[in-house]
């Protein structure tokens, strides 16, 4: 396989057992993503896009197929190594932000560093720098409930970036935001992409997907289309 590839999935399947019934969320997905791509994964609900995102984000393990991330076969990894990959290689931004409600913005951003074993002042400095990068230098000690939706999502982005991951994943990052805040957040993603960050996001909104350079559409658990747009 090419060392150029950041992500390679082949024949990836994911089945769920719902009582007696087996639900096939992914029926064999093949996809490759190179460094510094900006990919949007689209599809109607139930198409398997969130499942694919969770698999790429190592939050879930596939039922079958292979998943290579940065030359490591993630699909075969034991739990603790998956945790390490989540910590070092992946930055995940959720639709619902998923910040710890009782912790300050700074502490939320510090969390991945805590699990990476970074201590003390270095940790705080790195977390503060990540918050500065998303324009929240003056909100570090605020709790999530003292921040607006857009600010919360910025904290989440700072948290995703703080460990300098190979890939930034975003699952409907603007799903809970109004349109003006959405474009603010999308501007942040665009900026990160221009700085060299690989970004993969899931969305069902065409205008959000329009920010990406490549759009992968899923339908019924398989890749339906995969189009690359030339730089606008």
């Amino acid at each position: 396989m090419s060392a150029e590839l950041l992500i390679r999935v082949s024949d990836l399947t994911r089945e769920y057992q719902m009582g007696a019934e087996t639900v096939y969320a992914l029926r064999g997905v093949d996809m490759a993503i190179r460094p510094n791509e900006y990919v949007a994964i689209m599809g109607p609900s139930g198409s398997g896009k969130s499942t694919l995102m969770n698999l790429i984000g190592c939050l879930d393990s596939p039922t079958g197929g292979e998943y290579w991330l940065n030359g490591m076969e993630v699909s075969q990894m034991p739990d603790d190594e998956l945790a390490r990959v989540r910590n070092r290689e992946i930055g995940f931004v959720f639709q619902t932000f998923n910040l710890l409600p009782r912790a300050s913005a700074l502490h939320n951003v510090e969390l991945p560093l805590i699990y990476a074993g970074v201590n003390g002042r270095v940790r705080r400095q790195q977390a503060a720098r990540a918050l500065e990068r998303v324009g929240l230098a003056d909100r570090m000690e605020h709790k999530p409930n003292e921040l607006s939706g857009g600010q919360r999502q910025r904290v989440a982005i700072a948290r995703a970036l703080v460990n300098d991951p190979s890939i930034l994943l975003a699952d409907e990052p603007t799903g809970n935001l109004d349109s003006s805040t959405s474009s603010e957040i999308m501007a942040v993603f665009d900026e990160l992409y221009h700085q060299g960050q690989t970004v993969v996001m899931v969305t069902h909104e065409a205008d959000i997907a329009a920010h990406a350079r490549r759009v992968v559409t899923l339908l019924d658990g398989v890749v339906h289309s995969d189009t690359v747009r030339e730089a606008a």
Binding site: D60, A83, R86, N98
Partner: protein, 413 residues
């Protein structure tokens, strides 16, 4: 996650959920309080029994020859009591024969006593230990005089009606006046007060200063015992070896005087402080055996409460666990977070229990006759128990938290 981080996190969670935390620490708190307080009192009693009770009342290296044991402990059947009452009494002749027959250097004193009334100038003191003794009694009891003097061998031999008063008795009858030289009456017979003893303190809250001592052969002999009979012969040796020698000599003398054959049991008793201490050892051993049971009940209850609280915490914080896992927390990080949290909870409870237990021990010390002495090991055990209970109770909830699936946990609301 480093250990220090886990503790800091645990303390923060405990602090933000004060109410819930205080419920969960209460079991451990009670258990440890109990442990510290009881151990302190028992240890205090221990010291008290050996250093003051046994030695103050019975004397070091001292034995008593009696008809039957003066300090009766444990279950004694009525049959045994009847047998005791059939035994011959200790007579003046017995006492003199033992005194004459002992080969080791000893102090010897006769003692007979009975409760009674002492009067002075219309004032009446009831419930006073009236004691008839020989002169060396004061030396054996290590009783010094606060005022006046003790009586002499001469006064004992000639049966002078003189008397030494206990501290409290003297105060009760004479208040601020000097008792020495005045006359008190016991059963209408006047005795001249020649001395007042120094305070002897108290045992189990009973004052040891409500007594009056007169020479064994003074008129008091008719009140305390039938003619030519005494309650006990006190013998004090200068060392343990000599004490044992004196005991076997006394036994031999008494058995031969009473014509006992080798197969027959002695029909008198020889009593040492050891007998009392043995009995106390039994109580002590019982308490120390029962204590772990009592403490463990409250600790088990405390552990169950903590386990419940932790299970609730895991359920409430499922989403937090999911978030932490998505950010790279390993199973052991989550496990440690919850274990440290429950261990911290229990240890905080134990620490408070220790503080409270020490307070209780001090309170017991200050307000009752029971002494208290804090055993350092009980504090160590208290802390270890607290941490142990916390870890034990946290294990199951923590492993449940650690095994949560990140995708499901993060969706949990």
């Amino acid at each position: 996650m480093p250990f220090r981080e886990a503790i800091r996190l645990a303390l923060r969670v405990i602090w933000t959920q004060k109410m819930k935390s205080s419920f969960s620490i209460i079991g451990v708190f009670i258990g440890v309080t109990f442990l510290i307080a009881v151990v302190s009192v028992v240890e205090g009693m221990n010291e008290y029994m050996t250093e003051s009770f046994a030695n103050k009342l019975l004397g070091v290296n001292t034995f008593q020859l009696r008809r039957y044991p003066g300090v009766q402990m444990g279950d004694i059947s009525s049959e045994t009591r009847r047998q005791w009452r059939r035994r011959p009494r200790i007579t003046y002749e017995d006492a003199r024969a033992v005194e004459a027959g002992l080969s080791v250097p000893v102090l010897v004193a006769w003692e007979s006593s009975r409760r009674g009334v002492v009067e002075f100038d219309g004032k009446v003191a009831r419930d006073i230990d009236l004691i008839g003794v020989t002169e060396e009694w004061f030396a054996i009891r290590k009783m010094d005089m606060e005022a006046g003097r003790a009586f002499s061998a001469q006064e004992v031999r000639t049966g002078q009606p003189v008397i030494v008063l206990g501290n409290e008795l003297a105060e009760r009858l004479f208040e601020d006046r000097d008792p020495v030289g005045r006359e008190v009456r016991v059963r209408k017979i006047p005795y001249r007060v020649i001395g007042v003893a120094e305070s002897q303190g108290s045992v189990f809250g009973m004052s040891l200063d409500k007594f009056a001592v007169a020479p064994a052969l003074s008129p008091i002999k008719r009140y305390v015992n039938p003619p030519r009979v005494l309650d006990e012969l006190k013998v004090q040796a200068t060392s343990l070896q000599e004490l044992q020698a004196a005991i076997s000599e006394t036994e031999a003398i008494m058995r031969s005087r009473r014509g006992l054959r080798p197969t027959q049991e002695s029909n008198f008793s020889i009593e040492t402080a050891d007998a009392v201490l043995d009995f106390w050892d039994n109580i002590n051993r019982f308490l120390m055996t029962a204590l772990p049971g009592l403490v463990s009940i409250s600790l088990v209850v405390g552990g169950i409460v903590i386990m419940n609280i932790m299970l609730m915490a895991v359920a409430e914080r499922t989403r937090e666990i999911g978030i932490r896992k998505s950010l790279g927390a390993r199973r052991r990080d989550i496990m440690r977070q919850f274990l440290v949290e429950s261990a911290t909870l229990a240890t905080v409870g134990a620490a408070m229990g220790i503080a409270f237990g020490l307070g209780m021990a001090a309170l017991v010390q200050a307000t009752t006759f029971l002494p208290a002495r804090v055993a350092p090991w009980s504090i160590v055990v208290g802390v270890l128990l607290g941490a142990g209970v916390g870890i034990g109770a946290g294990l199951y909830p923590a492993s449940r938290a650690a095994r949560l699936d990140p995708v499901e946990a993060i969706r949990h609301e």
